[in-house]
Symmetry: C2
DNA sequence: GAAACTCGGACCTCTTATGTCCGAGAACTA
DNA sequence: TAGTTCTCGGACATAAGAGGTCCGAGTTTC
């Protein structure tokens, strides 16, 4: 099981979007991270479909965060880009074979899926506990405040 | 991100293997769960490579749990079947683009990967807290004790 | 009103998960 | 002790999804 690489890109983009209120084009975000512009567009579309970012069309268009960074969690981004479905899917194996449990008796999930989903819930909870604002704060602390300020200036100026 | 379907099969097989000390052939496990025998064999090989089960060759051969069910965790099975690597892989995006962080300054993981790995650790911890023995106990409680006893008898007899 | 720039979805490629097969090897039987 | 039968083990096809690219529809700006 490997998470889509687009999740990493999307998270970094969300952090970058916290430094400005002006729309940022996908091409700019791609250049900033040195990744394929065409492919990054796909991830941004996923974020837009999920309502996390808002797209502005036209000449000076781009993407803007729809909510405050404090109210966007990592879980939101992961589910938007990587799909909302559960990672573990129960195929009701207990209802098959010579010792099949009758469907009537299957009112509750089987013990295996219960345990797997409980672990998944713990994962979700940990992701939901961290927000984009937390990440931005960590970046400030790790790379120094000048990093995001520099990016902010670069985004404002037309310099490529 | 979707977990390999083989994880479900492997977990059910491990539970079944708790009811007997005699080797159980892959074909028997496949028939019991009504799944492809050839493909299930692949999952069992993964479990064997990871040292969770031991293969016995020859006429009355099959698979046996190597450890007590109490000391085999769900994490062990998941990592064996689905791969031991982390689900989130950091491609060091911060070292790319016009604002690249110099490699010297990257002694610690970037904030994004730190947060993702922390969540993954919570998931692992939850998986490691549940053992195959716990699952077997849950099955007993859910489907009644006669379920596993019936399977035990079926495995012992040559009846297919 | 025209032009330039933006997003959005349709399209193609390639890795990986899924599924299958037959040969090597060990235990049982005679 | 030799033959037979059953087992696992890895090599071989196939299908689905991730990764990557492209051009058209729509909007803002001049």
């Amino acid at each position: 099981m490997k998470m889509s690489g687009g999740v990493e890109w999307a998270l970094h983009c969300c952090v970058v979007l916290t430094v400005t209120n002006a729309p940022v084009p996908a091409a700019k975000l791609a250049e900033l991270h040195d990744v394929s512009s065409s492919y990054l567009a796909k991830q941004l579309q996923s974020l837009a479909r999920a309502g996390l970012i808002h797209s502005v069309q036209g000449k000076s268009g781009g993407y803007v965060l729809t909510r405050a960074p404090e109210s966007i969690t990592l879980l939101d981004v992961v589910r938007a880009v990587d799909g909302p479905g559960p990672t573990f899917v129960c195929t009701e194996i207990r209802q098959r074979g010579p010792f099949a449990t009758p469907a009537d008796a299957c009112t509750t999930p089987c013990p295996v899926s219960r345990a797997m989903w409980a672990a998944e819930a713990a994962w979700h909870q940990a992701l939901a506990a961290v927000t984009i604002a937390d990440l931005a704060r960590d970046v400030d602390a790790t790379s120094g405040p000048e990093a995001l300020v520099g990016i902010q200036a670069w985004l404002s100026s037309g310099t490529g």
